[in-house]
C-alpha cells in the first residue's frame, strides 16, 4: 500500500511538474498581455514534434536544447503577426484568435507528422529504473523533475535579477506606468510571449519522452493548467507553481482510492477555492477583479 501511494505521489509530482511548466507560461502571458493562450497546448506539442524531427541530427540532448528555442521563435512570429493586433480590443477577440489558431496548429501537426502516436527515443541510461525496489521510478523521471526544477528556478531568477524580468513583473502590476517610463511594452510583450512558448516547448520535449507524441497531446494538459492558475491565484507565479503541484498530486492520490474521480477532483478543488478564497491561494487582492 505504501508503495502504491508512493508510486502515485511521484506520478502526481511529475504530472504536476508538467502542469507547472504549462501554467507558468500561460500565466506569464495572461498577466502581462491579458490574453489566454488557447494554443499553448499546441506549442507544447510543437516542441515535442520538433525534438522528434531534430533528434536524429542533433541527438537527444541537442534536441532538448534547440527545439524549445525554435518553439519560442515560432511563438514570437505568431505574436508579432497576429496576437498583438488584439491587445487593445475586447478580450473576446484574443480568446477567439488563439482558440482558432490552436485548431490550425493541431491540424498542421496532424498534416505534417501524421495522426498516429510517435515515440521519442531516449538515451539508454535514462530508461533504467533507479533501483530494484523503486522499480517504478526511472532515471528519466528523476531527470524530468530536475529539468523542471532548473527551469522554474531559472525563470524566477530571470524575473528577479534581470532588467527585462523586472520590467515584466512591473508590467504585470501596472503596464501604463511602465510604458510611461519609456519601456517599449510592445517588444516586452513579444518577448514575454516567446518566453511562455519556450516553457511550453520544453515541457513538450519532456512530455514526449514520457507519454509519446500525438497531435492533441497538449489538450489534456491545457485545462489542468487553467485550473492551476485559478487555484494558485491569478497574478501570482508562485501561486501557479503551487497550484500545479497541488492538483497534480491530488489527482494522482485520488487515482489510488477512486480512479474514476481523478479528473473530477481537480475541478472540486477549483470550486472550493473559488468559494472560500475567490482570489486564489496566493492571488493578490484586486488582481482578479
Amino acid at each position: 500500500m505504501i508503495q502504491v501511494i508512493l508510486f502515485n505521489v511521484t506520478n502526481g509530482l511529475i504530472i504536476g511538474a508538467f502542469y507547472v511548466l504549462m501554467a507558468l507560461g500561460l500565466s506569464l502571458i495572461l498577466n502581462l498581455s491579458n490574453v489566454i493562450n488557447f494554443a499553448h497546448g499546441n506549442f507544447l506539442a510543437l516542441g515535442g514534434y520538433l525534438a522528434f524531427t531534430l533528434s536524429p541530427a542533433l541527438g537527444y540532448w541537442g534536441a532538448l536544447l534547440v527545439s524549445p528555442l525554435i518553439t519560442a521563435l515560432i511563438g514570437l512570429a505568431v505574436e508579432r503577426l497576429m496576437i498583438r493586433r488584439v491587445y487593445n480590443r475586447d478580450p473576446v477577440y484574443s480568446l477567439l484568435l488563439t482558440f482558432g489558431f490552436a485548431f490550425v496548429m493541431q491540424d498542421a501537426a496532424r498534416y505534417i507528422w501524421g495522426p498516429n502516436g510517435l515515440p521519442l527515443g531516449l538515451p539508454e541510461f535514462l530508461s533504467q529504473p533507479i533501483s530494484p525496489t523503486l522499480f517504478f521510478i526511472t532515471w528519466y523521471r528523476v531527470f524530468m523533475v530536475t529539468v523542471v526544477i532548473i527551469a522554474v528556478l531559472g525563470l524566477f531568477a530571470f524575473l528577479r535579477y534581470t532588467q527585462v524580468g523586472v520590467r515584466i513583473r512591473a508590467g504585470t502590476l501596472d503596464l501604463e506606468t511602465v510604458a510611461s517610463l519609456g519601456v517599449n511594452i510592445s517588444l516586452l510583450r513579444t518577448f514575454n510571449f516567446a518566453l511562455g512558448c519556450l516553457l511550453a516547448g520544453l515541457s513538450g520535449v519532456l512530455a514526449a519522452g514520457q507519454i509519446g507524441l500525438n497531435p492533441n497531446m497538449g489538450d489534456d494538459l491545457l485545462m489542468p493548467s487553467f485550473i492551476a492558475i485559478i487555484v494558485g491565484g491569478v497574478g501570482s507565479l508562485i501561486g501557479t507553481l503551487f497550484g500545479g503541484l497541488l492538483i497534480g498530486v491530488a489527482a494522482a492520490l485520488t487515482t489510488v482510492f477512486f480512479p474514476s474521480a481523478s479528473e473530477a477532483v481537480i475541478y472540486a478543488i477549483m470550486m472550493i477555492v473559488l468559494l472560500v478564497r475567490p482570489r486564489g491561494l496566493m492571488g493578490e487582492e484586486g488582481m482578479m477583479a
Binding site: 495572461l30 491579458n34 490574453v35 489566454i36 497576429m82 493586433r85 488584439v86 487593445n88 480590443r89 475586447d90 478580450p91 473576446v92 477577440y93 484574443s94 480568446l95 477567439l96 484568435l97 482558440f99 482558432g100 489558431f101 490552436a102 485548431f103 490550425v104 496548429m105 493541431q106 491540424d107 498542421a108 496532424r110 498534416y111 485545462m223 487553467f226 485550473i227 492558475i229 485559478i230 491569478v234 474514476s260 479528473e263 473530477a264 475541478y267 477549483m270 470550486m271 473559488l274 468559494l275 475567490p278 482578479m288 477583479a289
Partner: protein, 332 residues
Amino acid sequence: MSSEAGTNAAVVGAGRTPAVPRWVMLIAVWAILIAVPYWLPLLGGYTALAGRVLVFGLAAMGLNLLLGFTGVLSFGHAAYFGLGAYGAGLTLRYLAHSTPLAMLLGTLLGGLAGTLFGLLIVRRRGVYFAMCTIAFGQLWYYLAYSWNDFTGGFDGLRDFHREPIGLGGLTLDITDGGNRFYFFLLAVFALAVGLLGLLVRSPFGHTLRAIRENERRARFLAIPVERQIWLSFSISCFFTALAGTLYALLNNFADPLALHYSLSGYFVVMCVMGGMRTFWGPLVGATVFVVLQDYISSMTVNWMSFVGAIFVLVVLFFPRGLLGMRGRRGSA
C-alpha cells in the same frame, strides 16, 4: 476595453432609425424561417440542417444576452447546452416518455447549474471570468465522459427518442424527422426568442447595456451590478440549456462533445461573426457557421484548419460581424 467597439455600435431599439423599418425586417426573418422546408431542398440543403441552425442559433442568442448585451465573456456555455441535452436525454431514457417533461427538466438542469456557478464568479471580470467559465464547463465534459453506466461515456447517450406530444385531445406527432418536427422547433424557437426580445427591451435589459458601456457609472446610478450580471448569466444559461434540450430531441442522441469547450468557442464565434451587438446577429452567425461547417467537413478531412482559419479571419478582419457592419454604416 470593450468601449471602443461598444459606444458607437448599433443596439436593437436604441434610437437609430434603420434604413429598413424594423417590422419589415421581422416579417422577412420569420417568413424565411417558416418557408424553410419549401425553399431549402431547392438549394440542395436538407431540413435537419435548418433544425441545427435554429438550435445553435438559439444557444448563441442566449449566450449573446451575456456576451453582447452585458459585455461579459463566457467561454463555457457548451456546459449548459450539454447539460440541457443530457437532462432531456436522461429524462426520456430513465424517467418518463414525455417530450415536454424532458425539455423542462433539461432546461432546469442546465439553467440551475449556471445559476449556482454564476454566484461564485460574478465578481470576476474579463478574461478571468472567461477562464473560470471554461474550466467549470470542462467539469461536466469529464463527468459525462467517465460516468459510463449512466451517461454512455464517450459513445454518448443513446436509446431514447422524442415522443409525440399530447395537447388535450390532439396529439402532435413529432417522432419522424420531417417538416412537422422542424415547425415544432421553430415554434419553441419563436417563443424563446420573443421572450429574449422582451428581456432585452425591458428596463432590466437597459441596465445590462448600461453595465456594458460603463460599469462604474452604472454603479453610481445604483444599479446592483453584480446581481444584474448574475441574473444575465443565469438567464442566458437557461436559454442555452433550452437549446440543448432541442439538440437532444433533434438527434435523439446526446454526446460529450455537446459539453466540450470547443462548442463554447463555436457559440462565441457565431455571436461575433453575426454581430454581437445586434439582436439577430447570433442567428445569422449560426447559419453561416453551421452551413460552412457542414460543407467543409464533407469536403476535406482537414476541416479543423478551415474552422480555425474562420476564427482567425473573423477576429482580424471582421470583428463587427455581418449585421454589425450594417449598423456601423447607419450610425456613422
